[in-house]
């Protein structure tokens, strides 16, 4: 372990909300509104490009705020945090993709970043050509790729198709090829976002093995992942980000347990004591959590995975209730009502008398939601009307997943994933 090679000092990054939308604004539109209120617009447009460190206006989102830490040479640092915690933003700043808004970062050494698998892959180019394209994009020189080419192809296991355009590859093959290129990067500092979430399990393992090699060669690695196992195997130290600030830093196991605890406390304890509820209260929710396919509680799921939302309830002492209807309303972080899960819609009615305390369990077999954070409201009706309603009874994060079972991670911009099939028919009528 040498001296610090990355020094992050009170780093901050803010995004102006609506900056993304600004793109779709037309120039003509901008001109028109400019004419309507020239001064205000001038200020707005100026603000888009420059931020004042002290600016607190509400259209600003601080993706990172006052983050400071150091990474020593040869250290493998894990970074965890919920969706939107600022992990990717931090990596983007370290790899110079975007500028910080406040603070500074000092980096000693060449940085290669892997924020996505197969950046720059082009469908019409062959495997060989894409290796060169992707390799140079990731910062390798042509010479370096020449030297490692055979090794890369060997590692990927697609040598037979190396001169075929990759549009003829299966998605699994593409992922393998892309990973192989990335696995052969040899920068002094390597920065990796949650890219290992894709690809089949066997190949993932191979990549983790390769990363272990990299780590033992004295390279510095920053590694974002939700695969806690991989983190605890690879990293000696970890940082947990929460809402843009460092929540905990230290020994990996410690940070992981803090992370898990926070997750657990966030969603389980308070439901019984919540007062922001409505309804007659003859039946009340006392707890809610989500389980994965192994029956473990979790708040992080991948698209396509099984998820079981559990609602623990109690019926008021001495009452007997029958004919209840329970529902779970899922909302996205931006408060879009995504869907409603209701037991009477699925025909799973609770007509007879229900146990005086128990758990309502709702299983979603293949989660059709895309990457993002979601929360849910719960409610229960009896024949007499609304009995209990609690907003934000729980929440969960969705990570990219293989929803279609093809090894391919769908476009993450869209909210919903829908099962579908395509075919081509020669008959036009």
């Amino acid at each position: 372990m040498g001296n610090a090679v990355i020094k992050v000092e009170s780093l901050g990054k803010c995004y102006r909300l609506g900056m993304k939308e600004e793109i779709h604004d037309t120039f003509v539109g901008a001109m028109a509104s400019w004419m309507r209120s020239p001064l205000q617009n001038f200020k707005n447009l100026q603000k888009l490009a420059a931020f004042n460190p002290g600016d607190e206006s509400d259209d600003i989102l601080w993706a990172l705020r006052d983050v400071s830490f150091e990474v020593k040479q040869g250290e493998v640092l894990g970074i965890i945090g919920h969706n939107g915690a600022g992990k990717s933003t931090l990596l983007k700043i370290l790899s110079r993709i975007t500028d910080p808004s406040t603070g500074s970062v000092t980096v000693d050494g060449r940085v290669a970043s892997l924020l996505e698998v197969g950046t720059g892959f082009h469908q019409d180019l062959t495997g060989r050509e894409n290796v060169y394209m992707n390799g140079t994009i990731l910062g390798m020189t042509k010479k370096e790729i020449d030297r490692k080419f055979d090794e890369i192809i060997d590692f990927s296991g697609v040598e037979k198709f190396i001169d075929t355009p990759i549009k003829r590859y299966s998605s699994g093959m593409k992922v393998r090829l892309a990973f192989s290129v990335a696995a052969h990067l040899e920068p002094e500092i390597l920065v990796i976002d949650e890219v290992l979430a894709v690809g089949d399990a066997a190949f993932q393992k191979k990549c983790l093995g390769k990363m272990q090699d990299v780590a033992t060669q004295g390279r510095t690695v920053l590694f974002v992942s939700h695969q806690l196992e991989a983190l605890s195997n690879l990293c000696s130290r970890a940082i947990m980000l929460e809402k843009g600030t460092i929540y905990k830093t230290g020994d990996t196991e410690e940070v992981i347990s803090t992370y898990l605890n926070k997750q657990a406390t966030q969603s389980t304890t308070r439901l019984r004591d919540r007062t922001d509820r409505q309804g007659d209260g003859r039946i009340r929710f006392i707890d809610s959590w989500i389980e994965n396919d192994k029956g473990d509680r979790s708040n992080i799921f991948r698209s396509g995975e099984l998820l079981k939302i559990v609602l623990a309830y109690e019926v008021k002492e001495g009452l007997a209730l029958s004919n209840i209807t329970a529902s779970i309303a899922i909302n996205s972080i931006k408060n879009i009502s995504v869907t409603l899960l209701r037991n009477d819609n699925t025909g799973d009615s609770f007509e007879g008398q229900i146990p005086s305390s128990g758990r309502l369990e709702c299983i979603v077999k293949r989660l059709p939601l895309n990457v993002g954070s979601y929360s849910y409201n719960v409610s229960v009706h009896s024949l007499g009307g609304l009995e209990d309603w609690v907003p934000h009874a729980g929440s969960f994060d969705v990570e990219p997943g293989d929803f279609f079972g093809t090894g391919r991670i769908p476009d993450r911009e869209r909210l919903i994933l829908m099962d579908h099939n395509w075919s081509i028919n020669t008959n036009t009528f």
Binding site: A30, L48, S104, L115, D124, L125
Partner: protein, 274 residues
């Protein structure tokens, strides 16, 4: 170790161009140029033929409409070869400008996922389009032989003219692409802008149609000097218009420098809006 020390801080004010870094990324630059060429011809039946289709069909249309029907004067050479000598550099310029103006939007996935000097993108478009230009030039020579028109000694100025048209395309391209990533309709308007610019250059008519007193003003468009220069060198319709080329070069250099500075100034928000 310390040779690679980088300090990342909020950027303020103008930023110069980091030549060393551009040089370090030369492999990526050439692969992007190569990809631009390769992808264009992959899976197209006509393949490299597309490089000539555009100028040839324009030439035919303009020859019939402007040369034969409207009888536009063409400085003493057949209208077909006259207009083709203008259309070849113009087609290059139009395509290089359109491509480089779309280069940031078209590669927004790269911009938001990896670091490299962003300027590589518009510049590689400008270089990639030279292949089409080279092919169209061969056709121009063939057409000249067909019509019995031959180049003269001033053909030595041709490389300079080619450089001038590349610099102009690069300068404007950097301006437009840096604007387009924030205002998408700059890219929607590209076709229209290019069309307008075409009539502001002597592509389908001779510059001698422009009244004497406006000629230097007209030459503010660097493509005026380029196209008239092409005709002077290849068709001998006039002496080499050094006055046009001089004015055009100053403007082109101005566009290049201001375009590069504007691009560097805007660069800090590219990844955030891409």
């Amino acid at each position: 170790m310390a040779q690679h020390r980088i300090v990342l801080k909020p950027r303020t004010g103008m930023t110069g161009i980091n030549w060393r870094e551009l040089f370090e990324y030369r492999d990526l630059f050439f692969f992007l140029v190569w990809r631009g060429i390769k992808v264009r011809y992959a899976q197209s039946a006509l393949g490299i033929g597309w490089a000539v289709v555009q100028p040839v069909f324009s030439m035919v249309v303009y020859t019939v409409i402007l040369g034969k029907l409207a009888k536009i004067q063409s400085d003493g050479v057949p209208y077909a070869v006259f207009s083709f000598a203008g259309l070849v550099p113009w087609t290059y310029f139009a395509n290089a400008l359109t491509d480089s103006s779309n280069s940031l939007i078209g590669n927004s996935n790269l911009v938001s996922k990896v670091y490299f000097p962003r300027m590589i993108l518009p510049l590689s478009s400008v270089l990639a389009k030279l292949v089409d230009f080279g092919i169209a030039m061969l056709l121009l020579f063939a057409l000249m032989v067909w019509y019995g028109v031959f180049p003269n000694a001033s053909i030595v100025a041709l490389p300079l003219l080619i450089l001038l048209m590349m610099v102009t395309a690069a300068g404007l391209g950097m301006w437009f692409t840096a604007m387009a990533i924030q205002y998408r309709d700059v890219s929607y308007a590209m076709n229209f802008i290019v069309q307008l610019l075409m009539y502001a250059a002597p592509v389908v008519y001779p510059s001698s149609l422009i009244p004497e007193k406006y000629q230097l003003f007209y030459a503010l468009n660097p493509m005026v000097g380029v196209i008239e220069g092409f005709r002077a060198a290849l068709l001998g319709t006039r002496p080499m218009p050094w006055d046009f080329i001089g004015v055009g070069s100053i403007v082109a250099l101005g566009l290049l420098v201001s375009g590069a500075l504007y691009f560097r100034f805007k660069e800090r928000i590219f990844a955030d809006v891409a």
